[in-house]
């Protein structure tokens, strides 16, 4: 209890405290944990949706669900996995890690950060509320006009989908601004851009992609809302408009979105492979610039999703060649990862398994992507199961394995406890097997002519055995995911305590206790290398890139050595997010809830704007007695 301050860590767990303390927190670590926990819950929701889909397709003429329910399931599966699982799970890591990795005590705008989380949180709930009025959206996660028009989709499902995507889009823009400024403008002294950790680099590119990509879908959704609510003509062919406009706007967002989903994994793998190879990342500048190039080119290739739309041979050629170009920087990354492993002393721990699994599986998705980058081939593969196989190798093999590698890698830092190695490796192998069993046969289904998004198929087309195999695989995959979750829960209950630096890491987050103190850094570190902690531990002699200073960045002291003042908790971000969601969701009900929501939003924003960050009662940490 009241032990001497010198021989105990003076802070209690950063996670203890009332529920109210979670609702009002502006601590990037707690917000990161909330993102992660919510995303892992939605991973179960999206997974159950996928399992029902696979059960329906296990045999011809499946009767598990009907046509409409099936359309709702794959729409919600896609929307959930993209917006409620992969993006927020990446956001969890951005939140928790970017300040720690750049040497900052919080993000640039802590309350805006809380607002982003709650806005996303309420938007996600709004989307899933559609199930409870039995009108889940059913036009696919890509929601092609004019199937989404009032005429062809009169129910509330599309409204839920549009409004929740708009609301979550606001959250994405807000966090995009926040993390861009944090990564660019809050780096510790000495951390030049080229010394910034690869994960932060990829996160920064993701933020910029979000900032530039989301406005396109926002505009597309505004048109759709106006068409549905005010009878405008944006996607109405009879009025001279075209539904193809939606396809352009959606994919100008949608293709960068693919990189928004995969680049975090690239960043994670670029952290894990060096740590466990006990070497620096091979060709780090090339990995960084190829990431930038992927993000840049990602804006110029949207119409490769539209080769069957009929844009003509010139456009097909331009978008085919542009898409193929992206293979080059992507290949550069993969070769550099192999170069990192090459000549290392590879420590075979669970995070490395997932990271290498990510590389191995992503290669498959990348290569099948080159196939349908070729417009003529895409005429056959588009909207067939071949594309379903491709995208799951990219998103499950690439993104999910990468993110889970990150979960395993930073779990000790976040929770202060180690994961079980045996269970971790077992979950990896079961997932790896299940993943390939589920998705590899889909290549054959696509080549055998099975279209996507069909709730039923006839017997005798030669699809039975592949579908059955995929369904069996889906259950193996589920078992693997469950084992992974069991590992997490067991670790929280009885995991071995984690040291500050369990993996012998190189970056700043390993220089402090696990979990970190509320203020992150007792002393803002000075950084002389891309691997500041490694340089401190092993010296410059082995580190041929750094000839400047004698020593790197030492581990953090246990106690603050200066007075540290942190921003106060605030409930206004939560209230503002609630008002925004009420105003948005209220449009389905009537004017009153909209006005009420706007009023709440305005009041909250003003209170927030005029509430000082530093005010009486905010957390203050004084240098502990007995220390310097």
């Amino acid at each position: 209890m009241n032990a001497a301050p010198t021989d105990t860590v003076q802070h209690e767990s950063i996670y203890s405290g009332s529920i109210a303390s979670w609702l009002t927190t502006v601590d990037h670590k707690r917000i990161g944990v909330m993102y992660g926990a919510t995303a892992l819950l939605y991973f179960i929701v999206g997974g159950v949706e996928a399992l029902i889909i696979r059960l329906q397709l296990a045999a011809p003429e499946g009767a598990v669900v009907g046509a409409d329910a099936y359309n709702q399931l794959f729409t919600m599966h896609g929307t959930t996995m993209v917006f409620l699982v992969l993006m927020p799970l990446a956001a969890a890591m951005f939140n928790f890690l970017i300040p720690l990795m750049v040497g900052a005590r919080d993000v640039a705008f802590p309350r805006l950060n809380a607002f982003s989380f709650w806005t996303w949180f309420f938007g996600a709930i709004l989307l899933n509320l559609a199930f409870f009025v039995n009108q889940a959206p059913d036009a696919g996660w890509f929601g092609y006009a004019n199937l989404t028009s009032k005429q062809y989709n009169p129910g509330l499902g599309i409204d839920f989908w549009v409004l929740s995507l708009q609301i979550m889009g606001i959250a994405s823009i807000a966090s995009g601004v926040n993390f861009t400024v944090t990564a660019l403008n809050m780096r510790a002294p000495g951390m030049s851009l080229m010394r910034m950790p690869l994960f932060v680099w990829m996160a920064l590119i993701v933020q910029i992609l979000m900032l530039l990509a989301f406005p396109a879908i926002t505009v597309g959704l505004i048109f759709l809302l106006f068409d549905r609510f005010f009878d405008t003509n944006f996607y109405v062919a009879a009025a001279g408009g075209t539904p193809v406009l939606w396809q352009h706007l959606f994919w100008i967002f949608g293709h960068p979105e693919v990189y928004i989903l995969i680049l975090p994994s690239f960043g994670i793998v670029s952290e894990i492979l060096p740590t466990f190879s006990r070497k620096p990342l091979f060709g780090a500048p090339f990995v960084i610039f190829s990431g930038i190039l992927i993000g840049f080119l990602g804006f110029g290739v949207w119409s490769h999703h539209m080769f069957t739309t009929g844009l003509g041979p010139i456009a097909d050629t331009a978008f085919s060649l542009g898409t193929m170009l992206i293979a080059i920087p992507t290949g550069v990354k993969i070769f550099n990862w192999i170069g990192t492993l090459w000549g290392g002393h590879i420590v075979m721990r669970t995070p490395l398994y997932f990271a290498v699994g990510m590389v191995a599986l992503f290669i498959v998705g990348g290569l099948s992507g080159i196939m349908h980058a070729s417009a003529p081939i895409d005429l056959q593969q588009h909207d067939s199961y071949f594309v379903v196989a491709h995208l799951h190798y990219v998103f499950f093999g690439g993104t999910v394995f990468g993110l889970l590698a990150g979960v395993c890698y930073w779990w000790p830092k976040v929770t202060g406890r180690m994961l079980g190695e045996g269970l971790g490796k077992l979950s990896f192998w079961v997932m790896f097997l299940g993943m390939n069993l589920t998705f590899f046969p889909m290549h054959f289904l696509g080549l055998d002519g099975m279209a996507r998004r069909i709730y039923t198929y006839p017997a005798g087309a030669g699809w039975e055995q592949w579908n059955l195999m995929a369904t069996v695989g889906a259950f193996v995959l589920t078992l693997g995911v469950l084992l992974f979750y069991v590992n997490l829960v067991r670790s929280l209950r009885s995991g071995e305590a984690a040291t500050p630096d369990p993996w012998d890491g190189a970056t700043l987050e390993w220089s402090m206790s696990s979990p970190p103190p509320e203020y992150n850094f007792a002393v803002i570190p000075t950084v002389n290398s891309a691997r500041p902690l490694w340089l401190h531990k092993y010296g410059p002699t082995r580190d041929i890139s750094t000839h400047t200073r004698e020593d790197g960045t030492p581990p953090q002291p246990d106690h603050p050595v200066e007075r540290i003042e942190l921003p106060s908790p605030s409930h206004w971000p939560l209230v503002a997010a609630a008002g925004l969601t009420l105003a948005g969701g209220g449009t389905m009900v009537g004017l009153l809830p909209v006005l009420a929501g706007v009023a709440v939003l305005v009041v909250a924003v003003y209170w927030w704007a005029f509430q000082p960050l530093e005010r009486p009662g905010n957390p203050i940490f004084e240098p502990a007695r007995g220390t310097e």
Binding site: G66, A67, D68, N71, Y144, N146, L147, Y152, A237, G241, T242, P243, V244, S277, R278, P280, F282, A284, F286, T308, T309, G310, G312, T317, S320, L321, M324, I328, G331, N336, I338, G339, G344, H345, I346, V347, M348, A360, I363, S368, S374, A375, P376, I377, L379, Q380, D383, S384, H443, L447, D448, G449, R453, T456, G460, A461, G462, Y538, D543, S545
Partner: protein
């Protein structure tokens, strides 16, 4: 090549494995596998110039990507096995930061490989979208939720869900939609092309094998998207001419049956040439009896199946626009007899 009947077919479990092995070992050259039983939906069993062109590009890309796959995955696995930490590796390995020559190499080599993929890609893009040959048959394809309307403007024929084409002659399709976006896809005859409301798309191909080929709408178009199938009968010139002849011959009208048709409300949506029924909402039924399937390929055109369809269309094609008219069994029987006589 012999015409093959599309359905029914026994499930051959070996075929899948065989095609998997063929894909992995022989690449796109599945034909070399000597399969007797070719799936009629296959994208890699070309039966037209268009699908052959696509197949050629696919083979090229397949070999390159398969080669890259093997090399890169082997490198990865080798690195993991060779460089795992062993007892005694207590120190720190050489801290190699990179090697610029290698970076340049693995930028240029993929670029060179892409060059070999890009050439046939671009050539084929232009080849399959150039002007179709002069000797061609024009067909207007109109997508509806959830059936296909086919019109031969030069022959004066309107039909639904079953397309008849002469072998060796180019079919030039003008694709349009009556409601939402659909996509025309008959895998063995070529790639897909969308049917967009408000604008016309083109797709042409020259079937080179006689046979029956199955297709499916490939763009999500609502509840019964999965049930929007079609059949293409590629026939010899003689059989095709005979079919045209038959389609253009006025059907002998059975006045009792026609009366049942008109008084049941069918004429509110359907047309039968030469009768007062002239509505354009549902499929044209003028030559209904000559089709092999009904309900966009879901049922065989047999009396019991047609009766089941008339009894409750919704139970067969969810969301279908055709209402359940609560017809009496007697009425259904006379409608079945009448419709099947339309040939």
């Amino acid at each position: 090549m012999e015409p093959r009947s599309p359905q029914p077919r026994s499930i051959s479990s070996g075929r899948g494995l065989c095609s998997a092995v063929a894909l992995l070992v022989l690449g796109g050259s599945l034909a070399a596998c000597g399969l007797a039983d070719v799936p009629d939906w296959s994208t890699i069993q070309p039966a037209s110039d268009l699908s052959r062109s696509i197949q050629d590009v696919y083979k090229t890309v397949w070999f390159w990507t398969a080669g890259i796959f093997v090399v890169v995955e082997l490198l990865l696995v080798y690195a993991i096995i060779r460089y795992r930490r062993r007892p005694g590796d207590s120190g720190v390995p050489d801290q190699v930061h990179g090697f610029t020559a290698l970076e340049i190499a693995w930028t240029l080599v993929p670029a060179a490989i892409l060059f070999f993929i890009a050439i046939p890609t671009v050539r084929t893009i232009f080849e399959v979208q150039q002007k179709p040959p002069a000797d061609r048959i024009e067909i207007a394809v109109i997508g509806h939720q959830w059936w296909w309307e086919f019109e031969y403007p030069d022959l004066g024929i309107v039909t639904a869900n079953e397309l008849h084409l002469p072998v060796g002659r180019t079919a030039n399709l003008a694709l349009a939609s009556a409601d939402v976006i659909h996509s025309f896809w008959v895998p063995r005859l070529g790639g897909k092309r969308d049917l967009n409301p408000g604008s016309e798309n083109k797709l042409w191909f020259t079937p080179d094998s006689v046979g029956v080929f199955i297709g499916q709408c490939a763009e999500l178009c609502g509840t019964s998207h999965a049930n929007m199938r079609l059949k293409v009968f590629v026939e010899t010139a003689d059989s095709f001419d005979a079919w045209v002849e038959q389609q253009r011959r006025p059907a002998v009208q059975d006045s009792v049956g026609l009366q049942a048709f008109l008084s049941s409300g069918c004429a509110a949506c359907h047309a039968i040439a030469g009768t007062p029924a002239q509505a354009k909402i549902g499929p044209d039924l003028t030559k209904f009896g000559s089709r092999s399937t009904i309900a966009s390929g879901l049922l065989a055109n047999e009396p019991d199946q047609l009766a089941a369809w008339l009894r409750d269309p919704e139970s067969i094609k969810p969301g279908v626009r055709m209402p359940n008219l609560n017809l009496s069994e007697e009425r259904i029987a006379s409608l079945v007899a009448y419709l099947r006589s339309l040939r």
